[in-house]
Symmetry: C2
Subunit: 119 residues, 2 copies
């Protein structure tokens, strides 16, 4: 069992996303067998990349205001918003508020690619 405050995990920069910080609070190195928990801080005026990849996102917004841009349009984000972004769908998270936009974003480990298809 690992129990600690999320800020005890060091924040890292994210290539291609200036100003964005990520903490891998539960990772494969912790013994997590299937998926990882990350905490993102997106400063005011910043955004994640508009991109897609095979893995899904399970997101929970902790603080701030913003929106998520997807293939079907834009949806507002605030404290308590949940977002599920399927693998393969273009997406971007944008901070359009005045404070930090902080959210959890969980993803499957790379070794799961293809394992659960058709399930």
């Amino acid at each position: 069992m690992k129990v600690q405050h999320y800020t005890e995990t060091a924040a890292e920069g994210v290539p291609g996303m200036p100003g964005v910080a990520v903490r891998w609070v539960i990772a494969e190195a912790d013994g997590a067998p299937h998926f990882a928990m990350r905490v993102f801080d997106v400063p005011a005026g910043a955004a994640t990349e508009y991109h897609q990849h095979w893995w899904e996102h399970e997101i929970f917004v902790l603080a701030g205001r913003g929106h998520v841009r997807g293939e079907a349009g834009e949806f507002p984000l605030g404290e308590g918003t949940v977002a599920f972004i399927p693998g393969g769908e273009m997406h971007q998270l944008v901070n359009d508020g005045e404070g930090v936009l902080r959210f959890l974003c969980l993803i499957p480990h790379p070794k799961l690619e293809g394992l659960a298809r058709g399930g």
Copy 2:
């Protein structure tokens, strides 16, 4: 893409855990291929069961005060605490504060049992 506030998902009771409510905010029925996101509300004076199972927990505390009891002892929980509980380890989450203890708890889908072992 599914985007909504967590309270838009109906709260359900949990067998064997009086007073505890759970919302399955991202589930297999939403198209999530690997794991599910749940939000638990544990009222003051209540607790989850002391139990174990094959699947792991990835937990993030949203509000309240409490502790997690594991095989190695007890660890305090408060807003922003992250807990990773490996599969097979006995555990219990206890609200020893005055307000609700609210946390996210993510688990792999049943179909992943055994898939990632040895990975």
